[in-house]
Structure formats: structure tokens, C-alpha cells
């Protein structure tokens, strides 16, 4: 493995530590609940869902986390504020894990920022995300909230190269008057999590792996991604899935260890149902990485899978 010359930041979000040198901390894993098409959701707009099933899923992720030492985050997806509010109330009633709020609708994200501030849960909230589409309204909403943790998305629609993505974060590239990292700081974000952005395979998905290393080498912030999205639009694999669904599942979950081997600190691994497979895979990769880093003056944490499982 390798060691970054730049000092690596470790952020602490509601007790979950993310970052550091490869092999130092266990990879943090975030499973998504209430995603588009999730079978436990009856009415996605109203936020009506099977509470028993949802609780079982969150409990399973928590149990896998306890067993392997890989900390967990609940990644909550919603299309409306009404549903997001219910999902947040539910998730925080059954788990102590921090949670990611994710919606494609800026209005929902803004309402959520206000909501978690009002109910005192901003310190457990990770905003997803500050990206190139941020408006003045969203900037103000985030700045006025108590949220201090956010994913910063490196998606550059005009230049998806490594340089383009890095420039977007550093100085706005050719798209913004300042970089997303500066914007995050102005919004009061102290816990910065960089996501290099996963584009489809064939559209530069692999660049995210290079950027994981480059961003950590340059800034030292924790880096991770939803890398399972890379094969999700891969037509060839979709055809294979029809022959044998396990082929797709294997590729989907296998992406997690790629992100880890590139030095990633956290992974949004997709459907929370996959926790039972993802955590053992990630724990295995963490153990291998820690062993490979043992002569680089890197000490695995006491709760690292290396110290719990072998």
C-alpha cells in the first residue's frame, strides 16, 4: 500500500471517525434506505413505509458494523420534505448512527437543513451535497443551518477529467467564481467529505479512483464515493443480470473494495439490504490494506477489523 505525505484529516461526526492514512481507520460504510423503488416504501411522496422492515434493515447494518468494526452511516433518500422528515424521525429513533440527507430536489435539501437544525440533529447530519449546481438560496440555507458536515461533489459537467474535477473543488474551474471547498467553508462546513463523483462506466468512472488519491494527497480530507453506481448503468452487465442476478450483485458490491484500495475512507454502498455482504468484503479489504501498510508507520485503530476479526 502507500502513505500520504500530507497529513490526513480525521473528522468525527457523531462519534464516527472518517479519514486518516490507508490502514489507519476502518472504512465507513453508508447503506441507502428509502431509495427509489425500495420495496419497503409504500408511498414515496408521503413517506409511508413498512416500519418493521425498515427497522430490521437499520438494525442489520448496525449489527454488521458492531461485528466488523466498520462504522456505519444511514444514507436517507427522499423526494419530498414530508417523507424526508418522517424518515429522519424514524432513523434517529432506531439508530445512533449519523445520517446522510440526500434528495435530488434542492428545496427538499434546504427544508431538511432547517428541520435538523430546529430539532437539534444537525450534528448527526451529513449534507449531500455541495455541488456545482448550488444556488444562492441553497448556500444561504446551509449557512443559516447548524449543519457542519457535508459531502463535496467533484462532478464537473464541462470537464470530467481529473484536472477538471480537482479545479472545480479548488477554484471553480471554468464554471464558478470560487471553488466548492471555499463555498463549503463559507457555509460553515467543518467536516468536509470529498466525493470525486461516479460517472457511468465509459464516461470516466475510473477517474474517481485517481481523484481519491490526488485529493487526499493535495488536501488531506477524507474521500469516498457511491462507486456502486458505476456498473449500475452498464448495459452488458444488465444483460448478464438477466441470466444470473448474482453476477450483478458481485460486481455491484465488489466496487467497494476498489474504492478502499485507492485510499478511500468512506463508501456509499447502495441498498442497505446489501450490508450483510458489503461489511465482510470491506472488512477483508481493510485488513489487507492495514497489513500492507504495517511498515509505513501506520497503526490500525483498536476497533479496526484487523484487531477484531483475525
Amino acid at each position: 500500500m502507500f502513505r500520504f505525505q500530507k497529513e490526513q484529516e480525521i473528522v468525527n461526526i457523531a462519534g464516527v471517525k472518517i479519514g486518516g492514512q490507508p490502514g489507519e481507520l476502518a472504512t465507513v460504510l453508508a447503506g441507502t434506505i428509502f431509495y427509489e423503488g425500495h420495496s419497503i416504501v409504500e408511498d414515496a411522496d408521503a413517506g409511508i413505509f413498512d416500519r418493521k422492515e425498515a427497522e430490521a434493515l437499520v438494525n442489520m447494518q448496525d449489527s454488521m458494523s458492531d461485528e466488523t468494526g466498520n462504522p456505519s452511516i444511514v444514507h436517507i433518500f427522499a423526494n419530498t420534505f414530508e417523507s424526508m422528515q418522517k424518515y429522519i424521525d424514524f432513523v434517529t429513533s432506531v439508530s445512533d448512527s449519523p445520517f446522510i440527507i440526500d434528495s435530488p430536489q434542492p428545496a427538499v435539501r434546504m427544508a431538511c437543513a432547517e428541520y435538523v437544525t430546529d430539532i437539534g440533529l444537525a450534528d448527526k447530519t451529513i449534507y449531500n451535497s455541495i455541488n456545482m449546481s448550488i444556488t444562492d438560496d441553497e448556500f444561504a440555507s446551509l449557512a443559516n443551518s447548524d449543519i457542519d458536515s457535508s459531502i463535496i461533489l467533484g462532478f464537473n459537467a464541462m470537464d470530467s477529467s481529473l484536472d477538471g474535477r480537482m479545479a472545480l473543488l479548488e477554484n471553480g474551474g471554468k464554471l464558478m467564481d470560487r471553488g466548492l471547498l471555499d463555498i463549503a467553508e463559507e457555509c460553515g462546513i467543518k467536516n468536509i467529505l470529498i466525493d470525486p463523483s461516479i460517472t457511468p462506466m465509459g464516461d470516466g468512472a475510473g477517474i474517481a479512483l485517481r481523484m481519491t488519491m490526488t485529493a487526499k494527497a493535495k488536501w488531506g480530507y477524507p474521500v469516498g464515493s457511491g462507486i456502486h453506481n458505476a456498473p449500475s448503468s452498464w448495459s452488458w452487465l444488465k444483460a448478464k443480470k438477466k441470466e444470473d442476478p448474482l453476477v450483478y450483485k458481485m460486481c455491484d458490491i465488489g466496487t467497494v473494495s476498489m474504492q478502499q484500495l485507492a485510499g478511500g475512507d468512506f463508501v456509499l454502498y447502495g441498498p442497505i439490504e446489501n450490508a450483510r455482504y458489503t461489511f465482510p468484503l470491506a472488512a477483508m479489504a481493510d485488513i489487507m490494506i492495514a497489513e500492507a501498510s504495517s511498515d509505513l508507520d501506520i497503526e490500525p485503530s483498536s476497533s479496526h477489523p484487523l484487531n477484531l476479526l483475525v
Partner: protein
């Protein structure tokens, strides 16, 4: 075919974009696929469309992808094109930019096809009916198929690095910017 699209009847003059919905393809359509994003997804629809001169109509149906608004973005792109920065004029999608295809390809797309706007239509029987109505409605576009080559990505010259910022082992360093692993010579 680029992206989540499959080819059907090559002589048909209608293609179907199902946005965020997924339906069993109808083979009478020239092309059938989803489009969930307002940037890369829209680019693939354009590339696939101009590569078949027989396609003269694009049925945009299915549920809109929320936030991304890929359907509304395709309509805006067809109507208004892009500005000098590559932003799709009039789109209210989250990140409506075209990066990988040139202005002349977009103009070809605008000239070659007419859009049949049915965002929100999920009735598969009605979608099939529209395909049947339009599949032989018009002859091929007067210019040959336009094959869009994938843009060659910028590549940096291979550098001769002598140090790096990521330590691989005692005297082996990785330079994260160039991606080159090198042995650091001691003096």
C-alpha cells in the same frame, strides 16, 4: 448504442425515451431507452439519434427523473441549444451541461427529429399506439447517419518524476498528480 438503450426496427422513424421509467421495449421503435440525467444521459440520446437517419421523431415519455429533469432538459436542448459555456439554454435541471459533443451534432439533432412530448405518460399501450402511428410517418433525414466519435480525452505527457507525495515503500514514491510511481534515488 450508447447508454441504457437498445435498437429495434432500424427502418422505423420513431425512437422512444422512457426517462426514469423502465418498460418492456416495443420492437417497432428504432431505439428504446431511458434517460435519467440532464447531462451525460442527454448526450447519449443525441449521439444515438443522429447515428440513425431514419429516426425523425423522439417520443419522450415515462416519469421525469426528479431533480435532474432529463425530459424537460431534452426539450429545452432541442428548442434552444446550448450557450457558449455548454449550458443547455432554458433547462431547469440540476446540472444541464453538454461536454462531449459538438455544436454541429446538436444542430443535426435539432434538424433531424421532432419531439413528441409526453412526459408522465406511463401507459404502455398508449406508448405503443404512438409508436405505431409514427413508425412510418416520414422518410429518412436527407443527410447520412452522423457517427459521433468519442472525444479523445486529454492525456498528459508522461513525465520523468523523481519524487512524489505518496509513500509506497521506503524509497518508492507515487506522484499523485502524474500518477507515476518512482524510485527516489538517495544522494
Amino acid at each position: 448504442m450508447k447508454g441504457d438503450c437498445i435498437a429495434g426496427n432500424n427502418d422505423s422513424c420513431i425512437a422512444v425515451i422512457t426517462l426514469a421509467s423502465s418498460f418492456e421495449p416495443y420492437e417497432e421503435a428504432a431505439m428504446w431507452g431511458s434517460c435519467k440525467t440532464e447531462n451525460l444521459g442527454a448526450e447519449k440520446i443525441i449521439i444515438n439519434t443522429v447515428s440513425n437517419s431514419n429516426i425523425r421523431y423522439l417520443l419522450i415519455c415515462g416519469n421525469e427523473s426528479r431533480g435532474h429533469l432529463a425530459g424537460r432538459t431534452l426539450i429545452a436542448l432541442h428548442k434552444n441549444g446550448i450557450d457558449e459555456d455548454g449550458r443547455i439554454i432554458g433547462s431547469d435541471g440540476a446540472i444541464p451541461f453538454i461536454e462531449n459533443i459538438s455544436r454541429d451534432v446538436i444542430e443535426r439533432f435539432q434538424n433531424q427529429v421532432r419531439l413528441i412530448e409526453h412526459i408522465g405518460l406511463v401507459d404502455i399501450d398508449e406508448i405503443r399506439r404512438i409508436v405505431d402511428e409514427y413508425k412510418e410517418k416520414e422518410g429518412p433525414y436527407h443527410e447520412a447517419a452522423f457517427v459521433v466519435e468519442s472525444a479523445k480525452k486529454k492525456s498528459r505527457p508522461v513525465m520523468d518524476v523523481t519524487s512524489g507525495d505518496i509513500m509506497v515503500s521506503g524509497n518508492v514514491m507515487l506522484d499523485s498528480t502524474s500518477g507515476i510511481v518512482c524510485e527516489v534515488k538517495s544522494n
